[in-house]
Symmetry: C2
Subunit: 263 residues, 2 copies
DNA sequence: CGCGATTTTGATCAATGTCAAAGGTGGTGG
DNA sequence: CCACCACCTTTGACATTGATCAAAATCGCG
């Protein structure tokens, strides 16, 4: 019941502050002064109930979005009706876009929970870029990070067997959540995805995802319950998920768990 | 014998002009005056023989590249040694990057033919952005296009069977080649990829790629020979490749071939 | 001519998809 | 409070795609 949902209207003065923490945010590399500057260009703060769309395939949104609260997914429906989930966007993250007015986007963005998002209208965003050129570099950097993630998903789906594929995705999400939330101490987190979502993101059938989830549970690696993930054996997950433990939150949990520091 | 290779040193005055045509280029949305402006920021024109690297995984290139002549591939070597090809870059196209100095790139860029590339050093590029803010928007747009392509590859690898997967890739490349080269009138083009490249881009085994290539040839759909592709039945390829014929060079060949115009 | 890389072919096997169906769960309205 | 419904999870049997292994044939090239 609204574990990640919005209970009440957003405090517009606060929203941009959530964006200042974490590596994937637009405002992270900026001073507080600059954040205030950006806020002035923001056109709106929009809320969308779980299951709603920020925009749909072939819409021409003419706006950019920054997620303040909640999870959304980017997906694409293919010619035969299958859904491919391309990426997720978490609080503080920007959403990829076609920053050209009047061009149809090739994907849709749907909320997985109740969501609040900052809206930057096309024109106002371009004005922002013109008037604050150093933000251009930040935007390009963000865009490059999105692309890097897309590349990682490509590797994951293309080359890893189901077990590793599933683990890799879950660990990526855990990483992204922990990037901006303070660690709670337990290796567990809220993940509002059904097995169908996992299947559509990983290019597997729901049934096979289910079997894989069970296997991971039985092997004591991770539990994927209702809308929560518990990592039972982080070191084991990292290893099988094909993730370098040293590159992965070294100071927050992997080192603590494995005790296998580089020295 | 250097069909797409460089025979002699590049004419530095000409290089930027090759970038002005085609949708994927940095300079496309710019005036000739602006192109001249950009050229002033270019640090170098670098040539790389076929098989050489522009940069490697975990390098810190500190520079951006625009391909002037030849083909390159972006790839990543996974933990188990498999190679995943992420994207190709053709003449006139920019290469994705981490525009943050001192950060290791997660992929490598290797040339498939002799290659010439414009080099923009980090600092000079940032100066360019600051001094010409409207270019920032163009860059972001480019970056978004790269991401869109990554998404498309993800869909392709994730959900399509081998036949369609192969066709989709070949058609994408044909499309990109024709985007900037004038149509020769024949539905054939130079594609400097071995079956191993195709396999590594598509997430298939070489043997299976080979069998699929043969099948397509026998079905009269397309021939993939030495380093050349001949599309024997464009309409059929588009259909099986899951590509909307109307979105695909409608005025250059698909309409002509299919005769199924929209009206 | 000989060598390495590439393409080709065949036989076999494993991972994953498909089909079918039974439980669970939560929400909604009576 | 119950009945019902949609959606999600779970399980089993079976089919199929594509991987793997092995080995020839071909090609480009020095």
């Amino acid at each position: 019941m609204g574990r990640a949902g919005l209970v009440k209207p957003i405090d517009p003065g606060k929203t941009c502050l959530t964006c200042t923490s974490g590596e994937g945010s637009l405002c992270a590399p900026l001073s507080e002064q600059e954040v205030r500057t950006i806020r002035a260009y923001r056109s709106d703060v929009r809320t969308v109930p779980a299951g709603g769309h920020l925009y749909r395939q072939s819409d021409k949104p003419g706006a950019l979005f920054s997620i303040v609260d909640g999870w959304v997914m980017l997906y694409q429906v293919m010619e035969d009706g299958q859904r491919q989930i391309l990426d997720f966007a978490l609080p503080g993250e920007f959403i990829s876009f076609q920053p050209v007015t009047g061009v149809e986007v090739p994907h849709a963005v749907q909320s997985l929970t109740d969501v609040a998002a900052c809206v930057f209208l096309q024109g106002s965003f371009e004005r922002l870029l013109r008037e604050h050129p150093n933000l251009g570099a930040a935007m390009i950097w963000l865009s490059a990070r999105c692309e890097a993630r897309a590349f990682e998903h490509l590797c994951n789906v293309s080359r890893r067997p189901a077990r590793a594929r599933l683990m890799h995705l879950v660990l990526e999400l855990f990483y992204r959540v922990n990037m901006r939330l303070p660690r709670t101490g337990e290796d567990a987190f809220f993940m509002p995805l059904t097995q169908r979502h996992l299947a559509d993101a990983l290019g597997l059938s729901v049934e096979h995802v289910n079997r894989t989830v069970r296997e991971l549970r039985q092997n004591g690696l991770m539990e994927i319950r209702n809308r929560e993930v518990v990592l039972l054996d982080v070191a084991g997950c990292l290893k099988e998920g094909g993730i370098d433990p040293n590159a992965y939150l070294p100071n927050s949990f992997s080192a603590r768990r494995t005790g296998a520091g580089a020295g």
